[in-house]
Amino acid sequence: MSAPSQATEALPKGDAAREREMKSAMRLWAFGAVFVAIAFSALRVYQQVFAFSAGMDSTDPAYKKYWTMLLFVEFIALAIIAVLWYPRLMKKPKEAPTPQIESGYIMKLWALLAIFTLTVFFQASFFAEQDAAWHQTVVRDTAFTPSHTVLFYGAFPAAILTMLATFLYARSHLPHVFFSRGFPVAFALMIAGVVAEMSWVAMNEWWHSGPYGTEEFFSTPGHWGFVTNAFLYAAIFSVWGMSAKRLIELGRSDKEADAA
């Protein structure tokens, strides 16, 4: 299909601003994805090195040194990222964007969504199922096992962090799309999803402390909160859908602008 190249050829002059926005969005996507991948891979390497050597007994001093410490490192790192990053995302553009630039904003929103989805991969797939493997190596002795420390207190908050980043960006740069008539249901569902996933950790631990959580059985009611909360992630398609519809509108108005 040769359509894309034709489309590029058909670009009228004066689209340099859009190209800048698009390129910056692509850079954000690439950098964010690589950063998330490296951070979680590093955590995975950390598990490989220290889980069997220092992570098998929560009453051991080495456990505190290597695993309780990691917990704080994770929280602090996430807090630092939020503090440094969020103000930039919340900064409103000085003037109302042209359709060209707005289409670049949408690209940036999608870049943020893409980074979020990558954290969801680590949260809901990679480190989630890993937990099943780790439970086969020790008896359940603490809520802060090497797998939980990364899953519940690393990947779960990371999903909240990136989801909120997307939300803040949408609010500052695309308010007329997402906040023109109230709070968007799509974002409400997404935010509820990531926050509820995190909250279910408490229910999960409570369940496992009772008599039905002593053996490791994954398809257990104690885990189903994670499932229903993950269903809310379906709302990401609404966010995509709303912005894609906006792209269609922008195409129209842009066409009219060209004609004029």
Binding site: S125, W134, H135, Q136, F231, L247
Partner: protein
């Protein structure tokens, strides 16, 4: 790729109306996002509803595995099929979900079950639902009817699960004489490869009290799975409809 004349015409129309949407960088980032969110969602939903039957070969029996796995494994493919067909008219939603699930599972089994806790891969491989997912998508494309897709697609999904996984499990059904008992190879794997919190008694598998006419165990399970798949197909549809498509352009009123 050559295109029919009519399609070329509408392509032109699209170009006139929205050249932004034709910028394939949007497509790239969108497909990237879809891949990872679907891996995450399909995997977590499946693993916490039927994961145990998928983790270990000694759970992959004839009574519960071909029932729990396809029934629970249909929810996300069904939701994604609805989303892809309604928003984009793409008959690939179920296939994408099934492929993503397999990717997520293999990555995990390789890097974590095998690479971290050292289980041999032949003990922890995942089941597949890709072939039936393709059939589900093709049936929807042909019929363009949710009802017919439910009747033919969802039922094939449940019916054929055992068949599509037959070549995978077959080596592990070969009997072994072990300690004076006849066990399946899968049982021996479960006996030998130590799991500290998954004792033998916790596995929910056929225990010999599953009586079926003419010994047609697999058929009875497959038919049951086919029927229950109707329900899980519509549960998935509900998620796709209510949580993914309906909220587009919906707002909560601010006071």
């Amino acid at each position: 790729m050559g295109m029919p004349e009519q399609a070329q015409k509408s392509q032109q129309l699209v170009r006139q109306r929205s050249r932004f949407l034709l910028d394939r960088r949007y497509d790239a980032i969108f497909v990237f996002g879809v891949l990872f969110i679907v891996i995450g969602a399909a995997h977590v939903v499946f693993m916490l509803l039927a994961g145990d039957w998928d983790f270990w070969t000694d759970w992959k029996d004839r009574q519960w595995w071909p029932l729990m796995v396809p029934v629970m494994g249909l929810i996300v493919p069904s939701a994604l099929q609805y989303i892809a067909w309604t928003l984009l008219r793409l008959p690939i939603g179920a296939t994408l979900a099934a492929v993503c699930l397999v990717i997520g599972e293999w990555v995990n089994r390789f890097f974590n079950f095998h690479g971290w806790t050292d289980f041999p891969l032949n003990f922890v491989w995942p089941s597949t639902m890709v072939p039936t997912a393709i059939l589900l998508d093709v049936i929807l494309m042909w019929t363009n009817s949710w009802l017919l897709t439910t009747l033919f697609g969802a039922s094939l999904w449940g019916l054929l699960f055992g068949v599509e996984n037959m070549p995978l499990i077959a080596p592990f059904r070969i009997p072994v004489e072990y300690g004076g008992y006849v066990l399946s190879t899968a049982d021996v794997q479960g006996f030998q490869y130590l799991r500290t919190t998954t004792p033998e008694y916790i596995r929910i598998v056929e225990q010999g009290n599953f009586r079926a006419f003419l010994q047609q165990f697999s058929t009875v399970t497959a038919v049951a799975a086919a029927v229950i798949s109707f329900a899980s197909y519509w549960f998935g549809q509900l998620i796709g409809r209510v949580l993914a498509v309906l909220p587009i352009g919906k707002f909560m009123k601010q006071t």
